[in-house]
Symmetry: C2
Subunit: 232 residues, 2 copies
């Protein structure tokens, strides 16, 4: 493992406060692997053998129903995924694939559970991570129940712009079909929704989305603290 990667890992909320000994034990059993774009990492129904930590790249969590794929969440570095399956020792509810070249740390699930029992600080942080994951899932559910697909899209764009900090434009790092599956609509309707947002402060340049008038987009999207604020 490269030195700066180790630094990134120890900086992860999940690992930051734990005992050195425990961290060493986790990383000792871990494998760091590189995957190209489009690789299926996890299949719905498989047993959770490894906790995954995305060190670099991009991963999507998705499910396939009747031949159609639906996006559950997008994972950015540096963060873990499928922690819940590892903690509850149950099969994965969803599949996962890389959407870019990715480096992923694989930690044996048993080891994670063992350290959990030994290191209170780690246990606390795992619980907090799970709580936050749960909350973000509930927020997504709220978005689905109360909003139209255009509104979901508008709020997704605002959320992306917020995290890029580059403010003003974002570049979607995957195709329209994938974006549609995460917004909860079809490719065709996503296209129409994007066209519609053109009247609300947004310009579409292929995969780039330029926000010309953030206030106008916000007036349309009406973001809410307990749905769209990731820190709440």
């Amino acid at each position: 493992m490269r030195p700066h990667e180790l630094t990134q890992l120890t900086a992860l909320p999940l690992f930051s406060e734990m005992e050195e000994e425990s961290l060493a034990s986790l990383l000792d059993a871990a494998l760091l692997q590189q995957f190209p774009t489009g690789v299926i990492l996890i299949r719905e129904g498989d047993h959770a053998d490894f906790l995954h930590v995305l060190v670099e790249g991009l991963v999507e969590i998705f499910t396939e129903q009747n031949g159609v794929e639906w996006g559950i969440s997008l994972v950015n570095p540096v963060s873990t995924f499928i922690l819940a399956a590892v903690v509850s020792d149950q099969p994965y509810l969803n599949s996962a694939r890389t959407l870019a070249n990715s480096r992923i740390l694989l930690i044996p699930a048993q080891r994670v559970r063992a350290i959990f029992d030994r290191d209170v600080a780690f246990a606390r942080i795992v619980a907090r991570e799970l709580a936050l994951a749960y909350r973000s899932s509930v927020k997504k559910l709220k978005g689905y129940m109360a909003r139209s697909s255009v509104e979901r899209l508008a709020n997704w764009i605002l959320a992306e712009a917020r995290k890029d900090a580059a403010q003003g434009n974002i570049v979607v790092p995957f195709d329209r079909g994938t974006l549609a599956s995460h917004i909860g609509t079809t490719r065709e309707n996503l296209s129409r929704s994007l066209a519609l947002l053109t009247d609300h402060g947004v310009r579409i340049r292929g995969r780039e989305i330029v926000i010309d008038a953030k206030d106008q987009l916000e007036a349309f999207a009406r973001p809410q603290r307990f749905i769209d604020d990731p820190t709440s």
Copy 2:
């Protein structure tokens, strides 16, 4: 606290394996309160001061958006709710109200966090509870993305029938509007959906739903392990 209630509490997965001393400390600080139907227990945005344990009765978790209420989940005894807000020490994402006379145990959030740090068994179980809560939220999300409202209703009926074990008929313990908000539709369309299910092995008798042909209903609903099986 009545003796048989104490028994119920210690039988809760959340409390079953923990040290006696820790359990005593939790219950020592706890308040057992009785609430009539329709009482708001928790308001979205409030800070999480107490872990709630529903000992008896029925509670719904819901959110209000633009004057319309949407059901997030239904809580049956004996189980906890808003554990995630307590663990992450954050404001509630949703509101909660009683849907029946209910007895609820209120445990100060600080105390829960303190015991978490002291008792590994409790910590493990809290993490598992959170993981399960997270997974059930993801399952609900999957249901929303991949199913029509009639299908959601059909699967909800099957799930209720499964847990009642009385198999064959269920009695919905609240009004149509509330049910609609949990299925993710309107009162009017819920009514039509119920009428439609009449062709698929179900009879509607006011608040009672009689399942005449479970196989027929299942053929229509097509329940899935990783959406509808609460143990997965």
